[in-house]
């Protein structure tokens, strides 16, 4: 027997007897009903650490709520921002299909003496208005970079698991190194090495 024949014989035991056609039919009906309620499938956690600054967090009993404009997947979108006293926030907006989506996040600022404090509402708003590039892996296998109004399909740009993207916004230039399914780094000076965001990666 060849290795292929041996291999196929060994793994032919892996069989599934589920009725996927029926399950898909049932699930898609169910999904249509519940998407409007949950709408958090694409929830993105954003953690921001700022250096310096000494603004004390205003003690708001009920948190702060306001409408802001943010960049979501390359589109400028009105969103309701609700900020809690602990520096966490919820951002709700309607996607291109009119469905409610929610992004939750938060962050801390590091004071000069090394202590941490929750971000102020202004700092959170400032961070959300100046987005960093985002890399997203779609379930259809495509890979996208989003930055302000830019939507770049980088699916075919990977070589040896890496893709290098140069982004411009106004006078600002950002260099993005994406390691396929293994994180990405952003720098204003040069394409970052994976060792800068992945502690397991070898130093270059």
């Amino acid at each position: 027997m060849t290795n292929k024949e041996k291999y196929k014989q060994a793994f032919s035991v892996l069989q599934t007897s589920r009725d996927y056609a029926m399950e898909v039919d049932n699930m898609t009906k169910l999904t249509k009903k519940t998407t409007m309620k949950t709408g958090i499938a694409a929830a993105v956690a954003v953690c921001v650490v700022l250096a310096g600054g000494g603004t004390a967090y205003a003690a708001n009993v009920g948190g702060i709520q306001r409408t802001i404009q943010v960049w979501i997947h390359g589109d400028q979108t009105d969103a309701e921002l609700e900020i809690s006293q602990d520096g966490s926030y919820n951002l709700t907006y309607k996607d291109e299909n009119g469905e409610n989506k929610e992004i939750a996040g938060g962050g801390v600022a590091m004071e000069a003496d090394g202590t941490e404090r929750p971000l102020t509402a202004e700092e959170i708003q400032e961070e959300l208005a100046s987005p960093m590039p985002e890399v997203e892996y779609e379930e259809d296998g495509t890979v996208w970079v989003y930055y302000y109004d830019q939507k770049l399909d980088i699916t075919e740009k990977f070589e040896d698991e890496f893709c290098y993207v140069k982004l411009h916004h106004g006078e600002k230039t950002l260099y993005v190194t994406v390691k396929y399914q293994d994180g990405y780094g952003v720098s204003e000076d040069k394409y970052p090495s994976p060792s800068e965001w992945d502690t397991d990666a070898p130093e270059e």
């Binding site: 056609a21 399950e23 898609t28």
Partner: protein, 160 residues
Amino acid sequence: MRQSVQELAEKYQNNLFAIAFHICKNKEDAEDVVQDTFIQYHTIKKNFESEQHIRAWLIRVTINKAKNMNHTFWRKNKMSIEDYMETLVFETSESETLFETVMKLPEKYRIVIHLFYYEDYSVREIANVLRISESNVKVRLSRGRSILKEQLKEEWNDDK
């Protein structure tokens, strides 16, 4: 072109299940991954060039979803691979040993080995599906084969 989920499930569900199993090493997770993959196929408005294009897409999505499944924090209390293997009926003891040995390979070798030996994919096709270079596929294939040869000895032939 498009094919119905029913047609695709009849042809590929066991292949996709085996691929997902290679990554999840768990029957329930692998079955959920296959289900999610078919749901994704059903949901997207994508026109495919050929049946091979559909097959490659299904395999890529299965791999991505299986990797995502492994990264989720929430895991059900599921059957271990050892317990699951006891429910399988292998044709020969060599088959069982090969199965067990492959499942102990590092994931990155395991999936390349499976696509080559089970799906009959070429190095180029594997590179396209996994979004890695052909030379990287060759390295993984070579290292995976070396481990199999080392562990299985005469039960595994020398590949050229």
